[in-house]
Amino acid sequence: MEIFGVPSALLGSQLLVGLINGSFYAILSLGLAIIFGLLNIINFTHGAQYMMGAFVAWIALNKLGINYWVALLFAPIVIGALGVLIERTMLRKLYKLDHLYGLLLTFGLALIFEGIFRDQYGISGQSYPVPELLQGGVNLGFMFLPIYRGWVVVAALTVCFATWFIIEKTKLGAYLRAGTENPQIVQALGINVPLLITFTYGFGVALAAFAGVLAAPIYQVSPLMGSNLIIVVFAVVVIGGMGSIMGSILTGIGLGLIEGLTRVFYPEASAVVVFVIMVIVLLVRPAGLFGRA
């Protein structure tokens, strides 16, 4: 059977691949959305933090013998701690200033981190093997699905929805939202707001590192892997509505699917389709699809 001249099996497989990429976009844009929504910082270091997450997993495996499953926890903790350090020593001084200062600082940090890794490891990247348990694939009839990719969707979406739940439905999340809305009152209730903010930035960064570990067996672990992705992820956040948690998750998945379809019908446009959508959305709904104007 064919749909618009494309075999339906191929279409089905492209949709599935789109969903897989979409879950990457979702988890990365979620981290960005949390940091922007709660801290008002446009975290341009996010791509570099994603890259460093992958590198920590690679270093952990090759130098320390730490396997993939431990790295899924280990790398986010290490990079999240680095995030805490950055927040405490640098970002904190910028909260009262315009967004632009935070953007410039984080952009500079991204260049420094990428430079360090490029100097140490070169540009071609390092190979990270797929963990033994997830090797191979299943034949779905219309496509061969690598088990690892299936796992990526499950892991990414689970973490995304757990994060949404914590922020929107729990007491801790309520403190967090209130703390950023009106820090003085929340502070007066005996809650340590600065600590809460530090924790939030660290958590957003840890999400990037987690995505990095998920990505390591799929892509070459390379110093530029983050900068290639980060612009698309920013577009996802803008389309979803800056700071909207659910918006970034749903938009991430949706754009992954649209990108997948573009690759079948007009592959040359697949790199720009996200930005075309961004332009249209900004014209029609300047606050983004899920943003509050």
Binding site: P7, A9, L10, S13, Q14, V17, G18, I20, N21, G115, R118, G122, I123, S124, G125, Q126, S127, P129, V130, G137, M143, F144, P146, Y148, R149, I218, Y219, Q220, S222, L224, M225, N228, L229, G260, R263, V264, P267, E268, S270, A271
Partner: protein
């Protein structure tokens, strides 16, 4: 008064003659080599710092061997794979810093831009890194040398061998820019000429990181061979994901441009069995091993063909300057073209009128992990492609210098 005038005139004439004589030799008694390369981007592992090191080695070896009366200096810069940055830097070097020769120039766009500036200012360009054939075809000039490889030689090596060995149906995964398209065009021609059939192609954005969609399309085509008409990180990611999606080993991949740095970073597990064409392999013979070991000691990585070619081209240039006794571009180029190249990189290599340096190329197959006995033991050399067959015949050249 009259005598004083005469004396002044005589002195002036003598001075003019002297300075004339000096300028016919080496300007400023210094030969300055400029290395313009990618120091930080996609191609920095295959060229970059390694190419700068190779140039340094060539200069040191030349001074030790030839004990020239003139000085040799090197400058280097990062062109960031951008044509405008490359041509501005080259102009500055030629105009203000007395650079005699621009070298390396990985990425075709930077090479073409610098060739033009150099020709305008009567300087030589030696290109080891870029791949596209227009450099010695439509855009050729009499002061440029394309040294290490080109897309014709790559297609002629890999596509021909793979087609002749039964890989007769092809589907191309092509990076959507000038280099990828040239590589696809040259390879398709070779496949068809050898009785194969091209079933289709997909053009992917450059650069791309996720190839799964494109690989699924290639898989659906049912072609025996998926030709990767791309380079660097695009190639390595495509190879890695092809294994993941079960594309290989049912269908085979042909990397139309792969460097040893790519094989090294991917590992033999994902690259085993692949064919590739190269102008140089470090483990070919005692001479290549000796030089490569010296390179390795300083760089901690074995040289790519671009880096080895860079050494050879700079050495050939410096020897020509010494033999011609001048750094005048035209005379040096004439000397370079009449002298055969015999070193660890090339045997009986020669530079044709269109600027193409022709030398033997090699068809390599990547070893299986258990066949690799020591670090960087990566290739079986399956075939030597003789110089005369490896490159586009002059009769087919579109270079105005050789058109009858």
């Amino acid at each position: 008064m009259q005598t004083k005038k005469l004396t002044t005139l005589a002195c002036a004439a003598a001075f003019a003659m002297l300075s004339g004589a000096a300028s016919a030799q080496i300007s400023g008694n210094t030969v300055k080599v400029g290395v313009l390369t990618d120091m930080s981007g996609t191609y920095s592992d295959l060229a970059g710092a390694g190419a700068v090191l190779a140039t340094q080695m060539a200069i040191e070896d030349f001074i030790a061997e030839a004990k020239p009366a003139f000085k040799v200096e090197m400058v280097s810069a990062d062109h960031q794979n951008k044509a405008d940055i490359a041509s501005n830097k080259a102009r500055e070097w030629f105009e203000r810093e007395g650079v005699d020769v621009a070298t390396e120039l990985v990425t075709t766009s930077t090479a073409l831009a610098v060739m033009k500036v150099a020709k305008e200012m009567n300087r030589i360009t030696l290109m080891s890194g870029p791949g596209s054939t227009p450099i010695t075809n439509e855009q050729c000039n009499d002061l440029s040398v394309h040294y290490t490889y080109d897309t014709y030689a790559l297609a002629n090596g890999t596509a021909k061998a793979v087609t002749q060995q039964g890989g007769d149906t092809w589907y191309f995964l092509t990076a959507d820019y000038a280099f990828g398209q040239a590589l696809e065009r040259d390879s398709s021609a070779v496949v068809t000429a050898n009785g194969g059939k091209v079933l289709g192609s997909v053009r992917h954005p450059f650069p791309a990181s996720d190839f799964s969609s494109f690989l699924l399309q290639a898989q659906a085509s049912g072609a025996k061979i998926i030709g990767l008409a791309n380079a660097g990180a695009d190639t390595t990611n495509a190879i890695k994901q092809a294994a993941e999606f079960g594309v290989t080993p049912k269908q085979s991949l042909a990397g139309l441009l792969m460097f040893i740095s790519d094989v090294h970073s991917l590992g033999l597990q994902s690259t085993q069995g692949m064919y590739l064409t190269t102008g140089f392999y470090w483990d070919l013979n005692d001479e290549t091993r000796a030089w490569s070991k010296r390179f390795f000691d300083k760089h901690k990585r074995m040289p790519t063909m671009v880096q080895a070619g860079q050494y050879s081209s700079v050495m050939h240039y410096l020897r020509a300057v010494k033999a011609a006794g001048t750094d005048d571009s035209g005379k040096v180029m004439a000397q370079m073209k009449t002298t055969p190249i015999n070193d660890f990189f090339a045997k009986n290599g020669r530079i044709r009128d269109d600027g193409r340096m022709i030398h033997d190329m090699y068809l390599a197959q990547v070893k299986k992990p258990d066949e690799s006995k020591y670090p960087w033991d990566y290739y079986h050399i399956r075939q030597t492609i003789p110089a005369d067959e490896a490159f586009l015949p002059l009769a087919q050249s579109k270079c105005p210098l050789v058109k009858k």
